[in-house]
């Protein structure tokens, strides 16, 4: 296959022309580049998926504080609340929130996670993917297909913009993770190509401008709680897309806008901890207590 796929438009038309799913086209394209075989990619996806499940399992049962002592028991609190009082969200959405917190807290504890696309955003894709797969009985192969679909969305965004808070703010990390998760979910729910790409577009469009201003320079505040927020955000995007509600701005143009927004964003708000939340009165006080 000589076709180069660097945009959502190219992805869409390649899938349409060849009557293939996004994960099939993505695998064909990766293999055509000559670096990996389909087997290697599926194997890595399975390895990441297993690490994600393991992190959730451990995270759900831990209240061990992070090295800074600032967090570690939020997932436990949320589970207790849901068990006692339920939630306006349904059962699967509750699970998604707890899985996202479990994973991002495990990340803080130096537990083993899959960076997807980054360590700070590691709770978003797994929570949505695994909670849905459990509740709707999807087998491992279908989960891997969904993870590859998510990976393809992240890959296309990364062609134009590095997926790093220091380059594009949090829109490039948790924002992209949310777009990836919405694609995975829409794939698992039987959404068509257009709906999957549209879900990603809607998710990305809604987080443009999200800054990266971590308190004390640690991947902790606001990162941990942002994971469950953006996991549910991914579900919202998928719901809209499954109803054929279309993003009026096409996905590729949203990525362009995101890249431009990242460039325009002050360096003080891009992982340097020199502005925003990181320079609030409370953050400065925490800094004195925690660092050194």
């Amino acid at each position: 296959m000589e076709n180069i796929i660097t945009t959502f438009r190219q992805l869409y038309y390649t899938c349409k022309e060849q009557n293939k799913k996004i994960y099939e086209t993505a695998l064909d394209y990766e293999v055509s580049k000559g670096e990996y075989s389909e087997y290697q990619i599926r194997l890595q996806a399975a390895k990441s998926l297993n690490a994600m499940k393991e992190a959730i399992k451990i995270g759900l049962n831990s209240t061990e504080p992070s090295p800074s002592g600032m967090s570690g028991d939020d997932c436990d609190k949320l589970q207790k609340r849901f068990n006692k009082s339920g939630s306006v969200l349904g059962k699967t959405a509750q699970k998604i929130m707890t899985y996202a917190l479990a994973t991002s807290e495990q990340n803080l504890r130096m537990g083993i996670i899959a960076a997807c696309p980054t360590a700070g955003s590691c709770g978003i894709v797994p929570s949505v993917l695994i909670a849905y797969a459990e509740d709707y009985n999807l087998d491992e192969n279908e989960q891997i297909n969904a993870l590859i679909t998510a990976g393809e969305v992240g890959r296309i965004v990364s062609v134009k913009m590095a997926l790093a808070g220091a380059v594009g703010g949090c829109q490039a990390e948790c924002g992209v993770a949310s777009a990836m998760a919405s694609a995975a979910l829409t794939q698992m729910r039987g959404g068509n190509i257009k709906q999957i790409i549209n879900a990603s577009a809607l998710a990305l469009k809604n987080i443009l401008g999200l800054t990266c201003d971590p308190v004390c320079g640690l991947v902790e505040i606001p990162c941990v709680k942002r994971n469950p927020f953006l996991a549910i955000h991914a579900v919202s995007a998928s719901e809209l897309a499954m109803a054929d509600i279309i993003s009026k701005i096409p996905a590729d143009e949203i990525v362009d806008a995101m890249e431009q927004t990242g460039k325009l964003m002050s360096p003080l708000l891009k992982e340097s901890s020199q502005g925003g939340l990181a320079k609030t009165k409370t953050a400065i006080a925490l800094e004195k207590n925690i660092l050194r």
Partner: protein, 222 residues
Amino acid sequence: MRQSSIIDIISPVMAGPSSSHTAGAVRLGLLARNVYNTKSDKITFKLYNSYALTGKGHGTDKGLLAGLLGFSVDDKRIKNVFDTPEAKQINYEFEFLEDFNRHPNAVDFIFEGGLNMTLSGDSIGAGEIVLTKINKFSVNLDGKYNTLLLVYEDMPGVISSVTRIIQEDNVNIASLHCDRSGKGKDASMCICIDGELSKQCLDKVSELKDMYIVRYIKKLES
């Protein structure tokens, strides 16, 4: 520029919490281990700037040590590396410094013992790393290629002798980087290759006149 693959996006599996401050630190340690490649009496880690300031919260110190001990980025022991038998067998210390001439995430590894060596490296984002200095020589080692590193006496013909030996192995050179402390003094050569060099080839290079250090540094697996 190399574009990301799907694998880059959905991995690595790693010990948290930060790709640059934790996984990057492990990879710097692994690469330093491959370069030094012998037993030392003492290792000093100098962490600079963001690595110094947020290193404890991100486990950067643990990551650097774990890498040096040969643990991979997804090793469960990283979190408690200070308590492992492997760590207890070696003599190490950490220093935390500020130097704004250095990269925000910079580290020096100072090895003392039968062979003294100082390595400097940076964690440049998303787990990507680069070793920038070996002793006083500038290098550019990112762990993505098998690399032949040589330190030798600067004289005419060394580069062609070395590349001819590599040619005999029928191996392609991806990049070649040379530096020297002065004309006729110590010089360094960093040769990144596609594929593998044979032991025979390495022996031949070692036998060249006035070769002080010959290291075959394997690319990082994770």
